[in-house]
Amino acid sequence: MGVVKSNAPAGRVKQTLQAKAPQDRILEVIVYFSMTVVTVLTIYPFLNVLAISLNDSVDTVRGGITVWPRQFTLDNYSLIFTYGSLITGFKISFLRTVIGTIAGLISGSMLAYTLARSDFQARRFISIFLAVTMYVTGGLIPGFILMRDLHLIDTFAVYILPGLVSAFNVFVIRSFIDGLPYALQESAKLDGANDFTIYWRVILPLCKPALATVALFLAVGQWNSWFDTYLFNGSNESLTTLQYELMKILQSTTTSASNSQDAANMAERMSQISPESVKMAITIVVTVPILIVYPFLQKYFVKGMTLGAVKS
């Protein structure tokens, strides 16, 4: 399932078991030990966050929660559903993920198809035109000025339009189409299909693995982005996103903790700070949708990453 297969034929395992060189045994110990450490280092923080989110928020202050809640409660979760801005954020994040992914898939695959057609006159020009954008970007401020001049600030469209065509995604899909037998297109052409019909009826259904990869990249990118909200829609509460809200809530500690000598502001700050457990509950809500999806798409994105890297 997506995992790169080992080169070792079955016989090798037996052989190593029979006659292991001492240094091979050391290697084995290092391998299994380090892989265990990696796994624990990766999973522990998430389990810790989950346990704290399920623990009573007053009890959490005592510290010492590891991977199991001490006083189990779901109150933290029911509390966050009373935060109006989080509900709006959830709606907007969901919308931008769905719309951004679909729009990105259609535009990316359409462009990729034309670039996969070796007889297309403009193919070379467009490929280079696109590849340049992978290395040269205007930067933060020219980008901001452009959005302002296009009147995209304080709009939902600013979440969708700037990232609509990504060179990397286009090249991933194109490499996949390149691998499909050309005869399919030719026979469709002989049946009188035009290029758009070939794309829509023949190519697109065959591209599902590449589309799944790109859909995952797009969806994760959309769901996880917060900086565009900060930059373009920071003052517009109706366009806030979940990640941006989480960012504001998490950042409130860092600033207040470092300002803790500032007694005058302390009381005011305390009221703004959400309890640790509630923060962790929000973190879980923000993270879970993606964690549910990615293991199922693993075999696709492993292939997609490899294709994209080889071509670009």
């Binding site: 190593t16 065509v165 470092s258």
Partner: protein
């Protein structure tokens, strides 16, 4: 002589005609690509036009031709600002630390994971290793801060438990630790993901090579050194050049989210500098000059890296 010209002319006419015909034949391909080419032009190339701002005394709401041109004034201000050198130092330090760690750790991880012979474990470790890649930097920074915190952070708990320290370390409040924290956070988040390509490259190495090495009595360590590593060398070089090209474009999210004003002397990078001293203060021209500086250095590094590798290894991405 004459016949030749006529036939050449005919061929020319024919080609011209067929090119026109071809254009008509491919009209759907044009319909399907031109909108996106225009889109790329607007959203990716027009900001480059915005670079002209750096040479103007840009005022919002004033037409392009009415702007006042100031030449390299903003760059002079930039290079004259002491703060800029601190920011540049931070950017280069974190970029190079990220580059080296981000190059070595995924290779080592892929090599070790490939030696796991229990398939179920291999699959499990690999799936788990992707996990942090899919969470946002907001969440990752939150987790890192939590793990390193002085009250109940697991790192301090372990260090205290082992009696290595008697006071919890305030990791997030010490400037000299910031670069290391950012680099570690990056490794934690991206190692599994970056190893995908190496694992794919390893699986492409022919099993007969290992077979032969085993017959010759090579240990697994020697097999890794003499077969696996050379086998993924081209992949390593391509990825290294690409990451050098993106060196200064590694972003500012980590620094923005992990930094606070106690460590700002170590956390501020070029993009944040442009954000705080350009955009936030309405000094668009000055901020753009910072962005340009960033882009130009990136491109120079990319070409330099590509050139060096081309010369020494005959491998190149361009």
């Amino acid at each position: 002589m004459k016949t030749i010209t006529t036939s050449a002319e005919n061929a020319y006419k024919k080609r011209k005609k067929s090119a026109w015909k071809e254009l008509k034949n491919q009209k759907y391909l044009y319909y399907m690509s031109i909108p996106f080419v225009l889109w790329v032009f607007v959203f990716q190339y027009l900001p480059l036009w915005g670079w002209t701002m750096a040479f103007q005394k840009y005022k919002p709401g004033v037409g392009f031709f009415e702007q006042k041109w100031v030449g390299f004034d903003h760059f002079r201000t930039l290079f004259g600002d002491e703060h800029f050198y601190q920011v540049l130092r931070n950017t280069l330090a974190m970029s190079f630390m990220g580059l080296i760690a981000g190059f070595i750790v995924p290779v080592v991880f892929a090599l070790l994971l490939n030696e796991v012979r229990v398939q179920a474990m291999k699959r499990f470790v690999q799936t788990v290793s992707y996990l942090p890649h899919f969470v946002s930097w907001v969440v990752a920074a939150g987790i890192v801060t939590k793990m390193l915190s002085t009250d109940g952070g697991v790192v301090n708990d372990i260090l205290l438990g082992l009696n290595l320290i008697d006071q919890p370390i305030q990791f997030m409040a010490q400037g000299h630790l910031f670069w290391g924290i950012v680099t570690s956070a990056d490794i934690w988040k991206e190692t599994g993901w970056n190893a995908i390509i190496y694992l794919a490259a390893i699986s492409g190495i022919g099993p007969e090579l290992y077979e032969a090495a085993r017959v010759d009595g090579a240990s697994r360590l020697r097999q890794i050194w003499h077969i696996t590593l050379p086998g993924i060398r081209p992949t390593m070089i391509v990825l290294l050049i690409m990451s050098i090209g993106h060196l200064l474009g590694t972003g500012f999210e980590k620094q923005f989210l992990l930094g606070n004003h106690l460590v700002i002397d170590y956390s501020e990078v070029l993009d944040l500098y442009a954000l705080n001293y350009g955009l936030a203060m309405g000094r668009y021209s000055f901020g753009t000059a910072i962005n340009i500086f960033n882009s130009v250095i990136s491109l120079m590094l990319l070409f330099a890296a590509n050139g060096i590798f081309k010369r020494f290894t005959n491998e190149s991405i361009m």
